[in-house]
């Protein structure tokens, strides 16, 4: 196999992971043995054995920055689709504007896209989000695509290196939500290049040497 | 909520109590793991039907009625009669049953009873031909649940075979000869088991059913043959458990069959 495209170790649900370590995320223990709960790749760090899923829906975590779409209005809140199993309410107390009762539609209407933060999640799967923090806001214009949330770290790259490279090469503004929703704004050919590169990252997320190949793609330009 | 067998949220104390009893080898109503609740069968309960049986299995009560009418045979079996099975989870019998078209629970129940009777060849279908390829007898098995207190599979299965075994084919009424007893040649009996924790009990009552993780019905006949099986619910069985359950169903089925045959014959005398 091409060394550059070497696969990381892929495991399937129920597969035993024969590695010493404490059970981390995406694994379960039965009779003292460690098994994968997901179709994913094994990742060991700081003494923990994790399995990072190769696909799957977004499960909100407190503090995540997400991109969502307003899908409904209520007198005291908006209902936001954040690509999770559950819709997230955005309460009028969690926005930087003073909103009168029943006046939510004047500030955000159905179809609007926002960059928000997950402020709380409970065991029942209920999620609350907020716009009250520097940088959080309604996103005007641009284009939106969705990728598998498990591939978000690869799109961002080590300390943001991948996303910075995409921005530099295309002069686009890009926000990557932890929920797999990506907002891109810029010239149309720039946006097209960004999308192609992201789809490439998505496809090859589980291989080594990805940054170099994306760089090559961006420098080679559009074929 | 659609019609469900389960009673919704189960009190945790009930779960703990039943499990504790199981550890001591007993059950909430004092039975042993293989004991079936008292069975009472009243055949001929609905004289208007061609055959009928009111079955009481503990508190569970099911009325099975048989109607038999001439009809067209299926094209691929011109020399055989037809049998259809239906279950009505009538709303009067449980707070969890609601009116409306058959639910998946009712359909599964009817089909499991159907399989036992069909696969054991309980009814000799070849003797139900009026005119080959043209006209055969159609046997309708309709099961009405009158009180739901657990284990409808066995109550329905017992009622169906008891009603069939005492049914008469109404040939005179349809001008095609003399009435004759429905030719019943085998006696399939379903026995249902519920898995509670690591224990498996026969003929689960309502409380046991509500906390069971898995269910297995095994239908056997008087020759010791296995004719139908159906596993249900979200849990699993080990292969060893399955084999033990099949063996137990052969033994318990035999006892239940004796009760059925005793009741049927008692009725005839």
């Amino acid at each position: 196999m091409d060394e550059e495209k070497k696969m990381r170790d892929i495991v399937v649900p129920g597969e035993e992971i024969d590695i010493e370590g404490k059970p981390g995320r995406g694994v379960f223990v039965e009779n003292g043995k460690l098994y994968s709960a997901y179709l994913g790749i094994v990742d060991t760090r700081m003494g923990y054995v994790n399995v990072i899923p190769l696909s799957g829906c977004y499960m909100p975590k407190k503090g995540d920055r997400v991109i969502g779409k307003i899908v409904d209005l209520a007198p005291m809140n908006w209902v936001v689709d954040i690509n999770a199993p559950y819709y997230a309410p955005l309460h009028v107390n969690d926005v930087p504007w003073r909103v009168e009762f029943g006046d939510t539609g004047r500030f955000l209407s159905i179809g609007d896209v926002i960059l928000a933060k997950v402020s709380n999640v409970n065991e029942m799967g209920q999620v609350w989000i907020t716009l009250k923090e520097q940088g959080l806001r309604k996103l005007e214009g641009g284009h939106i695509i969705t990728i598998s949330p498990s591939k978000v770290p690869r799109v961002i790259g080590k300390s943001g290196s991948m996303i910075q490279m995409l921005k530099d090469h295309t002069n686009c503004r890009i926000y990557v939500g932890q929920n797999g929703t990506i907002w891109i704004s810029g010239a149309p050919d720039g946006i097209i290049t960004v999308i192609k590169a992201i789809r490439m990252i998505e496809r090859e997320a589980h291989t080594y040497g990805l940054t170099d190949r994306v760089k090559e793609f961006l420098e080679r330009g559009d074929e | 909520m659609t019609t469900k067998f389960s009673e919704g949220v189960v009190a945790e104390s009930k779960r703990t109590y039943i499990n504790k009893l199981a550890q001591q080898g007993t059950r909430i109503d004092g039975r042993g793991f293989d004991d079936v609740r008292p069975i009472k069968i009243t055949t001929g309960y609905i004289p208007r039907a061609e055959g009928s049986a009111l079955v009481e299995l503990g508190e569970t009560k099911v009325l099975v009625g048989i109607k038999i009418e001439p009809g067209e045979p299926f094209p691929d079996t011109p020399d055989m009669g037809i049998m259809t099975t239906n279950v009505e989870l009538v709303p009067l019998s449980s707070p969890t049953f609601e009116p409306g078209p058959p639910t998946e629970e009712a359909i599964e129940l009817a089909r499991v009873v159907d399989r036992g009777i069909r696969e054991s060849h309980a009814i000799n279908m070849e003797k139900l031909v009026i005119e080959e390829g043209e006209k055969v007898w159609v046997v309708f098995i309709d099961m009405h649940i009158l009180n739901y207190s657990g284990n409808l599979f066995d109550a329905c299965g017992i009622g169906a075979i008891a009603a069939l075994a005492t049914a008469k084919v109404p040939a005179e009424r349809h001008g095609v000869g003399e009435d004759f007893p429905l030719p019943v040649e085998h006696y399939p009996v379903p026995i249902t088991f519920a898995k509670i924790g690591e224990w498996i009990v026969a003929d689960p009552n309502l409380d046991e059913e509500s906390i069971a993780s898995a269910r297995l019905t095994v239908t056997t006949n008087e020759e010791g043959m296995i004719n139908a099986m159906q596993k249900g619910l979200f849990g699993t069985f080990t292969y060893d458990e399955v084999k033990k359950v099949i063996n137990r169903s052969l033994d318990i089925g035999k006892k239940v069959r004796e009760i059925i045959l005793g009741d049927i014959n008692g009725e005839e005398n």
Binding site: A37, S55, P85 | I107, R111, R118, G224, I226, F237
Partner: protein
């Protein structure tokens, strides 16, 4: 079951009408990721069976009254295409498909960590495009691949497999003729890692020995099928050349 054949299903050499040995599976082919819009999907070709399974969810369960506050509700829908069988099947659910959908839903629930997704539904659609006996076990085999592909956490990958009896011989994986004219069919779903049984049905006429022989065969074959499932799942992520 039940119809009488005017031909032999097992020949003098003990071979079956399609040339198989009693304990031999039909050819099997699996592919993961065949429906782009779905969260996960798989295609299984098993003998003459052609079956697609696709998974949507976990997503907020609707109508709301089906929501379970403690876990995800798995709703499998087994559906046969009108043209999947010799004589056109009337479209839509019939009693058989309602029953199969129920037992398949229950079997899949036994392996999914459903308690991680309260109030949601995981919808599993199984479409039988061509039927050739054993559709429910092929369907469940495809469904578990689709669930894994959808990134849904599970404690095992469920395997479906059937065995039965034809001409008095216990055989694995009945084909259409064997299913029509045979004496018994035992569809099963097995958790290959633990050997647990998540789906078990049977219809026909068998002794205890015949039945346990049949179940032995299916449990053995499950290991073989599981290997193919693992291969198909890993195949999907084998580099970018792979196009679907």
């Amino acid at each position: 079951m039940g119809m009488k054949a005017d031909f032999k299903l097992i020949d003098d050499n003990g071979l079956r009408i399609d040339g198989r040995l009693p304990n031999q599976l039909r050819p099997l082919r699996m592919e993961v990721g065949v429906v782009q819009r779905a969260n996960g999907s798989a295609f299984v070709e098993w003998g003459g069976n052609k079956i697609i399974a696709a998974v949507y969810g976990p997503r907020e369960a609707y109508p709301k009254h089906i929501q379970d506050p403690n876990r995800a509700v798995i709703r499998a829908r087994y559906n046969m295409a009108a043209f999947s069988v010799d004589e056109r099947k009337r479209p839509g659910p019939d009693r058989r498909s309602v029953e199969l959908s129920k037992v398949i839903s229950e079997a899949l629930t036994s392996v999914v960590f459903v308690e991680r997704f309260p109030r949601t539904s995981i919808d599993v659609y199984i479409e039988v495009l061509q039927a050739d006996a054993g559709t429910r076990v092929a369907g469940i085999t495809a469904a578990s691949l689709a669930l894994a592909d959808a990134g849904i956490p599970m404690r095992d990958i469920i395997v479906g497999c059937a065995a039965g009896k034809v001409d008095g011989v216990v055989v694995l994986d009945l084909n259409k003729e064997e299913d029509n004219y045979g004496e018994a069919d035992v569809p099963m779903a097995i958790l290959p890692r633990t050997g647990e049984i998540a789906l078990l049905q049977m219809d026909g006429n068998m002794t205890y020995e015949e039945l346990t022989n049949a179940m032995d065969m299916a449990i053995d074959a499950a290991k073989e099928i599981h290997e193919l499932q693992v291969k198909a799942l890993k195949e999907k992520y084998r580099g970018d050349e792979h196009d679907y």
